[in-house]
């Protein structure tokens, strides 16, 4: 066959393909480009997630090829098919991709498959993976633009894509943590585990006193922190003139919230333990300090969300300030306040540091008979169990305790969400 003839034949064929309104071709180009880019991102992500270095020569060739392919595809879909104003962003992108393609093989393949060790190679390995993730996501999101003809829908689509990926990235560790705790812990949950006392350094028996201790601790905390928190929030939002003192108090609340929990624990050791001993009461007081800022903050937000016009409506029929707060402001704010409280207490449920010096013992506390007795608590129990790992066969119970603790904390969060959704007041 005549070489020239076949050449001009192909030329015509491609010309036809690249016509401005060749929708089918454009679509295929874009989809292929999206898929490839996503693949790049997935490989990058997988390498982070499974701590596998992707400097392997084969992978590098693969990635280089993919990168070049993407650039070519994009090049065509942008330049041939669409407006010039997108040219700038395209060129930047192509440059990045080409850089990547050349950059990949530059890495000497000296980091092999090994788990995270603290050395410089980790950094390089991470950089490579993250660049892959970013380039992949950007590539896919750019490729969506021609697919939607550069209308406003196209930026919508690419933004949607990037956000979805971001959410998935965030969800990933959550899924890994929860699933591993559930799968390892579920076998250890039994009637015996839930109802019996600790024995043999936690390798036998259960966590009943720890459950009781944690629940008592939380109840006591709510009992003290809730009224104090609501009271402070009402004072700050409804009574105090917006002056310097209020500002100072607010900053104080924020600082209190920022105090590391171990400092709370040491504070308790210094101030409460000498008076109340290592006891439920000391623990409750410390936990109240810990949760108070959260309760105050969320209560303030809840009060703030009640529109000023409702207060005015109440004053206008002759209500006093307190009547207004009691009957008009608090009822619609209550779901928000309770949600905040449950979240705050949920946080307290998982804390170890504040109680480890002030309220808990590992074994032998049983169920306390007075607030001056020491207690056992789930997070501290877990801490002690992990210390015995290796020395005693405690693994099963440790996982089960973790699962229990996680269920309590997640359960409280779920309750908070349900309250918020169910009793939300629309104004």
């Amino acid at each position: 066959m005549d070489l020239r003839k076949s050449y001009s034949y192909f030329k015509d064929f491609f010309k036809e393909l690249l016509k401005r309104d060749n929708w089918e071709f454009k679509k295929i180009m874009c989809i292929v480009s999206i898929v490839f880019s996503s693949l790049v991102a997935i490989i990058g992500f997988a390498s982070v997630a499974m701590s596998v270095y992707i400097g392997d020569i084969f992978l590098r060739f693969l990635l280089g090829t993919i990168a070049i392919l993407i650039s070519i595809l994009l090049f065509y879909s942008y330049i041939k098919l669409h407006k010039k104003k997108e040219l700038a962003s395209l060129i930047v992108f192509v440059v990045i991709v080409f850089l990547l393609a050349y950059y990949m093989p530059l890495f000497p393949p000296q980091y092999e498959l090994k788990a995270y060790d603290v050395d410089a190679s980790i950094l390089k390995f991470m950089i490579t993976s993250f660049i892959l993730i970013i380039v992949g996501i950007l590539g896919a999101s750019f490729s969506m633009k021609p697919l939607y003809n550069f209308t406003s829908k196209s930026s919508q689509a690419s933004a949607y894509y990037v956000l979805t990926v971001a959410i998935l990235l965030i969800l990933y560790p959550l899924v890994v943590i929860v699933s591993s705790i559930v799968s390892n812990g579920i076998g250890g949950i039994s009637w015996e585990f839930l109802t019996q006392d600790v024995s043999r350094h936690g390798s036998k028996g259960g966590v009943f006193p720890a459950i009781v201790g944690t629940l008592l601790l939380l109840m006591g905390t709510v009992f003290i922190a809730l009224p104090l928190g609501i009271g402070s929030a009402i004072y700050l939002q409804e009574y105090a003139k917006k002056g310097k003192i209020v500002r100072v108090i607010r900053i104080g609340v924020d600082v209190l919230q920022g105090i590391p929990s171990i400092v709370h624990g040491l504070f308790g050791l210094a101030f409460f333990v000498p008076i109340f001993g290592i006891s439920l009461l000391s623990g409750i007081l410390i936990m109240s300090f810990l949760t108070l800022p959260i309760i105050i903050r969320s209560s303030e937000e809840a009060l703030k969300s009640v529109p000023q016009s409702l207060r005015e409506g109440s004053y206008a029929v002759g209500a006093t300030r307190w009547q207004t707060i009691q009957r008009v402001v608090l009822p619609p704010a209550l779901p928000g306040i309770i949600t905040g409280t449950v979240l705050g207490v949920g946080r307290a449920a998982g804390e170890t540091a504040p109680i480890m010096f002030t309220a808990v013992v590992f074994m032998g506390a049983g169920t306390p008979t007075s607030i001056f007795d020491p207690i056992q608590a789930l997070p501290y129990h877990l801490l002690e169990l992990t210390r015995y790992i290796g020395a005693y066969p405690v693994d099963q119970n440790a996982w089960a305790t973790a699962l229990l603790l996680l269920s309590i904390v997640l359960g409280m969060n779920a309750i908070a969400i349900i309250i918020r959704e169910k009793y939300r007041v629309e104004f």
């Binding site: 003139k241 917006k242 529109p307 016009s309 409702l310 207060r311 005015e312 409506g313 109440s314 004053y315 206008a316 029929v317 002759g318 209500a319 006093t320 009547q323 009957r327 008009v328 009822p331 619609p332 007041v425 629309e426 104004f427």
Partner: protein, 255 residues
Amino acid sequence: MTSKNKIKMDIRNLNLWYDKSQALYDITVPVLENKVTAIIGPSGCGKSTLIRCLNRMNDIINKCRIEGSVIMDDVDIYEKKTDVVEIRKKVGMVFQKPNPFPKSIYENIAYGCRIAGIRNKKKLDEIVENSLKEAALWDEVSDRLDDSAMGFSGGQQQRLCIARALAINPDVVLMDEPCSALDPIATAKIEELIRELVKNYTVVIVTHNMQQAARVSNYTAYMYLGKLIEYGGTKQIFENPKEESTENYITGRFG
């Protein structure tokens, strides 16, 4: 003004400052009993500020300072010994945006009475029914008294707020642009209502709508930049204003 027109509230030399900026300058104007007094003027001239002085609503605003007096039934409502709660029971208020409480229709109206210490269920039922009838809302909601007020239309909510103001049996009803969030039909209903109300109540209304002022009010006060420019019978203000500024505003040349 004829002699049978009794002055219900007498605003005398009222000056008001928000922090350091003065919003009202030496306002002196009467509010006549069983009449509708309209306050008109361009945006930001202090209409809301003035009407809120009549039930001391400005008390709840930080750094708001007031000088001068408002005499109601021979008592200066700004005197130290007057109880602001008592004033507000006598001077009801309806706001620009309907602001029903997120409670049932019944509770919205009974609220003021409960605050005032009325516990008798029968009495409350009676007051709720009467107020709703007065506010021309009874027919629409009589079978839904326990429904949340938030589920009603804007016009219905506004009439509910009027009913809520009437439930405590005030002498004066203040209305700050009560129709600005409503459609023409709901507006017509409320205007009709105002004409009814004035038989038993003294009404002060702020409005941006010239026709509305002309339709419902007996007396009109025109304000500009915190000052009272002109006050008189509505007919006179609209047909024969003394001040140029008033005429310009009414004929729509500015504001």
